[in-house]
Amino acid sequence: MSGDDERFIMVNGIRRELTGAQAEGSLLEYLREELDLTGAKNGCGVGACGACTVLVDGQARRACITKMSSALGKEIVTIEGLEGPGGELHPLQQAFIESGAIQCGFCTPGMIMSSLALLGKEKRPSRERIRQAISGNLCRCTGYQQIVDAVELAARRMYPEA
């Protein structure tokens, strides 16, 4: 049971007060239907594809199986939160574009969020580590090759000294 004063979440740096109805259901529904943040996709609804991946307090979470009740008071970052105020791209976004890692693009937001969580913990993950970290994110188009390339490229740019 959460008290009324906890009926909020932070989404991309903005505090969102929640109505009783909004505090129910899944985080994915809330983001897509209530906030019109449609970058997180519904590919399966059961936690199997990763298309809905967002950060919850810095951890990659599948929004489709994250209950709003468990996200209360927490800090959510979605793909929409990665662009700078003037439309500058995050190094991961830039690297996905430059590496040819995007085809249909349906997996892309989730892939980038999972990669972001990884690069928040590790500065120079091996290709093997990257593959492990994105194994909850299915992609049917790319065969993953250029996605792994992109994450490596982003890591080099984000942490040139590492």
Partner: protein, 752 residues
């Protein structure tokens, strides 16, 4: 270019930022929501659907059944047999008996549970063999048998030739139902416009096919339906019939409630209802001479078409054309049958009938080589088609470079094949593991071939400031087709990409250019753009030649300049402005018509395709001797794509295709049992994950094709048709066990 290293995708930024708006992301004022109601039967008749309780539920605006369909209930690409809403008969478990429309999706879902279905249940036909048995009940409306298709090839006298062969392999293979598993389930928004037009925004891979389905269901003219295509989250051949019916249902609902209606599919609905890759049973008798020559083949194939026809005959046709692989064989008898059953129906999927036959042929080549004391390379080199060679359909390959030798050599070099083949374990485990390498070779007819009328158009529309709006009637499936078209235009006109905007038109803005299937996106779409660009250049050269004081045939378009090399000229912008000053629009409409092909249905002979893509792929595997688990160590591809217009994206197609094929080889099985799809979501239907696949390599061989305006052929489907047999051959070379059935499963007991 907003990119480096030649990677160009104009829509990448929208996709990387989450701004790309897919069909399910669309929200409109007053929009209602529809959901389908599925049958509980696999086969039944006398369907009665009781909707009163659902209609009375909160928020419900309408509940539609077949009787509410104003146009045709049944429609299809070849046979009009696939019902938009089930009528009287239930033919498979994916049949939609009603459509509930409500203010919110939650209300629609709640009301859907109140729809009552009654029918007389019938025993289902669950496999193609029993469907073809004499006493089988007839499943196809108004037809006298369950044979959806029978394709044949009669070349020489196969039986006689087999009798004279040194070695005759008599082998049976089988392949499984495969789910496309595009990451985005079907979705559609239909808007009943005040001008009477039904506007559709849907996740589908062929707007014009969708328009036909929607117009049929509504009973409307084609011009009364306008289909737009938002970004599509993958298709792989799978977003035609079912995706089109999702659009048609949204349209029926929108018309009924007179407001925009959104219909978004759950993954479970998608997997239950959408068509799959055809499972095949293949029986080959393949005859070889002592010299290793592949002399004759006698082939029977039977595939499951499921409840509806879709494009089964066309899929079978490709199986027929490619039934002996890329080899010249003098005597061939082939019969391919497709049978109607009460399983989920089968249709187009990337590869389109070739992955199944390649799985058989490319293993047979290795088997024959071993029996005859040849290597897998030797037997392929002895038999593969060469320049001016004749295919099994009697087509002489003299119009383009026949590069099987090149792609094979490329793979042999890149993988160090000979050494690794010699080092393969062949059943002798070292440290508990077995190692093997295997390869497969193919040729693949590009574009539709004798399956259909093959032409495509493009519009190049220059604006007063020199910017250009480009359109082409090839749909973006997510592979980057539009970006390729932009690159072609930039190159043809000699202008920077920044000046070009690819307009994503609707079905009302450009003529039907055919579907983005059959590896025809680049060759046909890019070809149409090149033709339109050349029309425009010719118009501009003719118009501006007097002003430049030169002959029009000396005017070239290069580096942002229009004029004579080293002589008089105008900047591109000046040239465009000069056209307007002459009151002649710098605008062109171009059509690329594919060269003529031919086909004889009785003999299976003819010039099947106007050109072919040549490909070779290799796999290296490690098999755990204790568990039989197969791990992929490396996958390598070599493809003669004609010309790679967008290198990184061409490679991306190859990588994606290899991994999909690896899924077919090792991971995927739809587990269709008693007419029901066993695994209806991605938690149980296992497609390859990042950690299941190794780093991939792709070698692009480029022999520009004279029949293609850009020199490019294509890559989409060649990429997927080889890895399953390459892996099967690698597994054999590791374990000594032949895997004739997909997916490959190794019983560790057999490994001792």
């Amino acid at each position: 270019m907003n990119t480096t290293d030649g990677v160009f995708r104009y829509d990448a930024r929208a996709k990387a930022t989450g701004r790309a708006t897919y069909a399910a992301d669309i929200k409109l004022t007053g929009m209602a929501h529809a959901v389908p109601v599925y049958t509980r039967f696999v086969r039944a008749r006398g369907l009665r659907v009781e909707v009163e309780a659902a209609k009375a539920a909160p928020g419900v605006l309408a509940v539609l059944v077949a009787a509410d369909v104003s146009g045709q209930v049944r429609y299809g690409q070849i046979e009009p047999d696939y019902p938009v809403l089930a009528q009287d008969l239930i033919n498979f478990e994916g049949e939609v008996i009603a459509l509930v429309v409500a203010r919110t999706r939650a209300q629609a879902l709640a009301a859907a549970a109140l729809v009552v279905e009654e029918a007389e249940e019938l025993p289902p036909l669950l496999d193609p063999e029993s469907a073809l048995a004499p006493a089988a009940p007839l499943l196809r409306l108004g037809k006298k048998d369950n044979i959806v298709n029978h394709g044949k090839m009669r070349r020489g006298d196969a039986e006689k030739a087999l009798a004279g062969c040194e070695l005759v392999l008599d082998e049976r293979f089988s392949t499984q139902f495969i789910e496309h598993a595009y990451m985005e389930p079907e979705a559609a928004v239909a808007i009943p416009r005040p001008d009477g037009v039904m506007e559709i925004h849907g996740s589908m891979q062929h707007p014009f096919s969708t328009r036909r389905f929607v117009a049929a269901a509504l009973g409307s003219l084609l011009a009364g339906v306008e289909v737009f295509n938002p970004p599509m989250g993958g298709g792989f051949g799978g977003k035609d019939d079912t995706a089109a019916l999702v659009c048609a249902r949204a349209a029926l609902a929108a018309r009924a409630v007179r407001r925009p209606v959104k219909l978004v599919y759950d993954r479970e609905w998608s997997m239950r209802e959408s068509y799959k890759r055809h499972p095949y049973k293949l029986h080959y008798r393949a005859g070889f001479g002592a010299d290793g020559r592949f002399r004759a083949a006698s082939i029977d194939m039977l595939c499951d078409s499921g409840a509806y026809t879709s494009v089964t005959p066309w899929v079978n046709w490709r199986s027929l054309v490619q039934c002996c692989g890329p080899y010249s064989v003098a005597d061939v008898r082939t019969d391919v049958y497709a049978a109607a059953t009460n399983n989920v129906f089968t249709g187009a999927m990337r590869g389109f009938g070739s992955p199944q036959v390649n799985f058989a042929v490319e293993q047979l080549m290795d088997m024959a080589a071993e029996r005859l004391g040849l290597s897998p390379l030797e037997i392929r080199r002895i038999n593969m088609l060469t320049q001016d060679g004749e295919t099994i359909t009697g087509q002489k390959l003299d119009g383009h470079v026949v590069s099987l030798g090149q792609v094979l050599d490329a793979i042999v070099r890149a993988t160090d094949f000979e050494r690794k083949f010699a080092a393969s374990s062949r059943g002798a485990a070292r440290d508990g593991t077995l190692y093997g390498i295997g390869l497969a070779l193919s040729y693949r007819g590009a574009s539709l071939g004798a399956e259909g009328a093959d032409f495509c158009s493009s519009i190049v529309n220059c604006q007063a400031d020199g910017s250009v709006i480009l359109d082409a009637a090839i749909h973006e499936n997510g592979q980057g087709a539009e970006s390729v078209q932009m690159l072609v235009l930039a190159e043809e006109l000699g202008i920077p990409l920044e000046l070009i905007r690819r307009q994503r038109s609707s079905t009302s803005m450009i003529p039907d250019g055919g579907t983005t299937v059959a590896t025809r996106g680049t060759i046909m779409g890019g070809g149409a753009v090149a033709v339109a660009a050349r029309e425009l250049k010719s118009l501009m050269a003719r118009t501006l030649a007097p002003k430049l004081g030169v002959e029009s045939d000396r005017v070239v378009f290069r580096s942002g300049r229009v004029g004579v090399e080293g002589g008089p000229g105008l900047s591109w912008e000046e040239a465009v402005a000069a056209m307007f000053a002459e009151r002649i629009y710098p605008y062109a409409f171009g059509t690329f018509r594919a060269p003529k092909v031919s086909w004889d249905e009785e003999t299976g002979q003819g010039d099947a395709y106007f050109t072919y893509v040549y490909s070779c792929q290799a796999a290296e595997v490690e098999v755990d001797a204790a568990t039989g688990a197969v791990r992929l160590l490396a996958m390598t591809a070599a493809h003669d794509v004609g010309r790679a217009i967008n290198r990184a994206l061409t490679m991306g197609q190859a990588y994606g295709g290899m991994v999909q094929a690896a899924g077919m080889a090792l991971f995927e099985d739809l587990a269709v049992k008693d007419g029901r799809v066993g695994n209806r979501n991605l938690d149980r239907y296992k497609i390859p994950r990042a950690r299941d696949v190794p780093d991939l390599r792709c070698i692009l061989v480029e022999n520009a094709d004279p029949s293609s305006p850009t020199g490019a052929k294509g890559i989409g489907e060649p990429a997927i048709e080889l890895m399953a047999p390459a892996i099967a051959n690698a597994v054999y070379n590791a374990t000594g066990l032949r895997c004739r059935d997909l997916p490959i499963r190794i019983d560790p007991k057999e490994l001792s």
